[in-house]
Amino acid sequence: MTNALEIKGLRKTYRGGFEALKGVDLVVQEGDFYALLGPNGAGKSTTIGIISSLVNKTAGDVKVFGFDLDTQINEVKQHIGLVPQEFNFNQFETVLQIVVNQAGYYGVPRDLAKQRAEKYLNQLGLWEKRNDRARTLSGGMKRRLMIARALLHEPKLLILDEPTAGVDIELRRSMWDFLTRINKQGVTIILTTHYLEEAEVLCRNIGIIDKGLIIENTTMKRLLSQLNIETFVLDLAPSEVPPRVTSAEARVIDDHTLEVDVVKSAGLNSVFNELSEQGIKVLSMRNKANRLEELFVTLVEQGRKPKETV
């Protein structure tokens, strides 16, 4: 299988001496949905900036579908669609102008660009807004506009730099569906995000970058299997004594709630035993991750269902 992206020894030292990348090696295969994760300032955006030629590299090689960034930059650019972190379209232009102009920069004739604009704006629920100025759109619509704009020249590699930042959960999920669909159609996707559950749901492979170096590059399954600790929230019956747990890392959230980090191999029995010895009754228990998210989506979906009338 062809490599969609191949990075070797990528380095970037900014003016002033800050070394953002210290020799990044990375391979993303064609058709992959790849998560590039890392804390703030780890080098994610610099890496993306170099791939999309917004940042000049200091050293190293970058190839996109076999095309070299140094010698075949136009071919490289033609294959990439970029959805940057910040809104960077002209706020005074209309939605249609923004996407059609972007296609024009890639040499797509205006008539064809308009056809594609209709296709992608429809898919992203923005066609009705095509004649509205970008500044009048909501945050979620602006995010979707960024995705539509990046797809107009039909790139084979789509790079999304925190595409769902600040987007409500319902919209985030619809964007996940859309991205999954285009990935299935053959578009390789590289995603950076701070929402780890987003990477978990969408991506097959994952790279973790920290302090300018790739510190993990593996499949999502393998990485998740390394997760050794789970957090549980225990709802407790009212008690005169505060709960005390020594067999696991625990935090008292309030009078009735205890949060416990449990090592998978150790299990929860010892925690229950300790609480039982103190005469504290556990009323219910839940896994901490994504509970509110699921509840919110369920409530919204229920609220949208047509109500029965008598």
Partner: protein, 257 residues
Amino acid sequence: MQNPIHFTALKTIWIKECTRFLRIWVQTLVPPAITMSLYFIIFGSLIGSRIGEMGGVSYMEFIVPGLIMMSVITNAYSNVASSFFSAKFQRNLEEMLVAPVSNITIILGYVGGGVARALLVAIIVTLVSGFFVELSIQNFGMIVITVVLTATLFALGGLLNAMFAKTFDDISIIPTFILTPLTYLGGVFYSITLLPDFWQSVSQFNPIIYMVNGFRYGFIGVSDIAPETALGVLLVFNIGFFVLAWWLLKRGTGTRT
């Protein structure tokens, strides 16, 4: 394969630029018409009638080409400076930088937009001047070449300014402190032959003298500078500015980190 891509990209940038200045026509096209009308009334009709002839024609006829050129210079410069800097500031310039748009195409697109606005303003100001004076044309080719080269030169100047600019103040400093004095001292309102020898020699270093006189030659057939010299200076400056803009864009000055 590549040429049609570049042509489509160029057309896109140019249309985008023209759409921008036409969308804000109240800010871009109306002010020059009003300002120049005031110049025609005050300097041409009121004061000009007391001055009499200059260069063998009425004072009004003498200053009209210079005033048109003044509008061309200001509009070509400010159009590209503000548009390119805004694109840089709002980061929508990245739309072009990530696409296979060559640096030459970016320059031609932006400069083309600036030239289009400058020429449209030139036509408007010329039409307005028709209410005050009957313009004669001695050399139409010279008029067209001079106005196009001048608009191109100052559009390139605006682009260079915008590349280096870090704040909106930076794009108003050069027009205020350099461009305006050079324009007013560039023979718009007087013939440099009226100046003492020393100041005539100093004036030779003002590039705007060449543009105003070349343009004026096209209208009234009289110029303080030989038309060939005027065109030569314009051509040299244009080539120099273009090469500099291309090199800076290639280096990523003000556009890439």
